[in-house]
């Protein structure tokens, strides 16, 4: 069982969601996050005073998948989220020890 975590540009969220639905992914979790990478932040000006805003808004998408699906999911996210510009984000995969579906109590692969 794998957890695929993707940090992407906010306007790419719909594209990523649609791409995942197309390959049959049944659920995901999103959250609004802030951070910086090579894109750094941006500058704002108030009454002539410049402020460096360090953190850029991004969307974090988390998907729990079975071991076999992980590579396909990663490829789908990367393809959907890419603009070729700096600041497109990152995708990573981690291993999950245990999953429980709260409603039924199912565990492991059955709960994915």
């Amino acid at each position: 069982m794998k957890l695929v975590t993707a940090i992407v540009k906010p306007f790419k969220l719909d594209d990523v969601k649609n791409a995942l639905e197309l390959i049959g992914i049944a659920g995901l979790t999103v959250s609004e996050v802030q951070g910086f990478g090579r894109q750094r932040g941006h500058t704002e000006v108030y009454r002539g005073a410049e402020y460096q805003v360090d953190f850029v808004p991004k969307v974090r998408i988390e998907v729990v998948v079975s071991e076999l699906d992980a590579a396909r999911v990663v490829d789908a996210v990367v393809e959907a989220a890419s603009t070729g510009q700096i600041g497109d984000g990152k995708v990573w995969v981690t291993t999950i020890d245990e999953i429980v579906r709260v409603r039924t109590g199912e565990r492991g692969e059955d709960a994915v």
Binding site: E44, V45, G48, A49
Partner: protein
């Protein structure tokens, strides 16, 4: 007999000017960080509350009573104490305003002048100290200066020296309101010192839409401020109204143009600031210049103030919301500009330097402006320093970083987190105030039970 048309207009104008102070609270409140929006707005509401009472008790009497000793400096606080004797209709056969209409109209000027100062000391002043300051400042600075500028000689009554002896023109308060508040703001910024992290940390406005609404309300109310200062529903009021409109538009263009050229972007904060800069500058001049003169005053005010707000970084004082850059600089420009741009065709009937009037009016304007600026700066600095050394004016560093709303008012401006912000309440209001561990423990028990 009361002139009903004039009275209706002045009472309406007074209500318009009153709305400027809540408008100012929004204008200032949006410009500070989210953790101090309530304290910023409370300083304006505190002025509304306190100055209303002081004005009725003795403020009107100091400002518009017969000049003590005929010196033109201030009236006696006892002449009309509690507005004694002003409830009867004393208007003559030819008609006129009830005294109370004038009392009300001038009251709201006193209120907003005090509230304007608060922008210089955002995020860091004790509320109690601010209220003490507001009362003392109104008493020994605003009420006398209003006498200097707004109290005209009457039958058997001696008024103020700027209005009657110097003969400087100040229609609606470029000196008494804006230079006065601006110089006071500068003095208080020195007394209180800089905010923690000034010039290093980002202190950007937390809610620009509030600032825009505030600027809009100020502009709306300002028609009462300027056109109402005609004290009649007449041609002078109409000229003042149009000049107030066009100078403000021109100032906004001027500010935005400076930003576009210097920073590359025309900003919403710049537009809101340009509105106020234009309103400030046209205030003293709105009955003395032609509409084209008003455009010149406005566009120069917008550009000048857009440049002046940068002074605080160069000179190292933390006039947090630019009371100096907008009100002092805009007020000085508008007051002195009358000396150049006054036109005898306007209701004031005086020619300035550019209209062939020579420097006669110009020097009077400069003397009036500088006198109010120096008096206000020096006396404010003394009041502020005395408060700082006795009761303390500034909150502690820890409280400032935590946020003044939370520490001083036990409130927060926004409840934005939908999870985990509900907490639990004490069943009795009094217990919400208690902070000892003892009462916390009691509350916890109650909640668990």
């Amino acid at each position: 007999m009361v002139n009903t048309g004039d009275t209706a207009w002045i009472l309406t104008s007074a209500a318009l000017v009153l709305l400027m102070t809540p408008g100012l609270a929004l204008f200032y409140g949006g410009m500070v960080r989210a953790k101090s929006v309530l304290n910023m707005m409370m300083m304006s509401f505190g002025a509304l509350a306190l100055i209303s009472v002081l004005w009725v008790l003795y403020g009107y009497s100091i400002a518009f009573g017969d000049s003590v000793g005929g010196a033109g400096l201030f009236g006696s606080p006892f002449e009309y104490f509690g507005l004694a004797g002003l409830m009867e209709d004393a208007t003559s056969e030819e008609g006129g305003l009830p005294a109370m209409a004038f009392v009300g109209f001038q009251a709201v000027f006193a209120i907003i002048t005090v509230a304007l100062i608060s922008g210089a000391i955002a995020d860091r002043a004790k509320f109690g100290a601010w209220m003490v300051f507001a009362g003392i400042w109104a008493t020994i600075v605003y009420f006398p200066v209003a006498h200097w500028v707004f109290a005209f000689d009457g039958d058997d009554v001696v008024g103020g020296w700027i209005a009657n002896d110097l003969l400087a023109l100040d229609f609606a308060g470029g000196t008494a309101v804006h230079i006065n508040a601006g110089a006071a703001g500068l003095a208080l910024a020195f007394v209180l010192g800089k905010r923690r992290g000034f010039g290093r940390e980002a202190m950007r406005p937390h809610n620009l839409p509030l600032v825009m609404i505030g600027a809009g309300l100020l502009w709306f109310g300002w028609f009462g401020f300027n056109a109402g200062s005609a004290l009649a529903a007449n041609n002078t009021a109409a000229v003042a109204w149009v000049n107030t409109l066009v100078a403000t538009g021109a100032a906004t263009l001027g500010w935005l143009l400076v930003e576009k050229i210097r920073d590359g972007h025309s900003t919403s904060l710049g537009a809101a600031s340009g509105v106020v800069a234009g309103l400030v500058a046209i205030t003293p001049a709105c009955n003395a210049v032609s509409p084209v003169g008003a455009i010149l005053i406005g566009v120069i005010a917008g550009a000048l103030c857009a440049l002046a707000v940068g002074l605080k970084y160069a000179l190292g004082y933390d006039d947090s919301l630019d009371v100096v850059g907008v009100h002092l600089v805009g007020g000085l420009w508008g007051t002195i500009a009358i000396g150049f741009l006054a036109s005898a065709e306007s209701p004031a009937g005086v020619d300035g330097l550019f209209y062939g009037g020579g420097v006669d009016q110009l020097w009077r304007q400069v003397v009036g402006a500088v006198a109010v600026m120096l008096f206000s700066f020096v006396v404010t600095w003394i009041i502020g320093t005395v408060i700082q050394k006795t009761m303390g004016f500034r909150i502690t560093e820890e409280d400032e970083i935590t946020g003044i709303d939370n520490v001083l008012h036990a409130e927060s401006g926004y409840d934005l987190a939908s999870l985990g912000s509900s907490g639990s309440t004490a069943p009795l209001a009094g217990q919400a105030r208690a902070t000892s561990t003892d009462s916390l423990a009691r509350n916890t028990e109650r909640t668990m039970a």
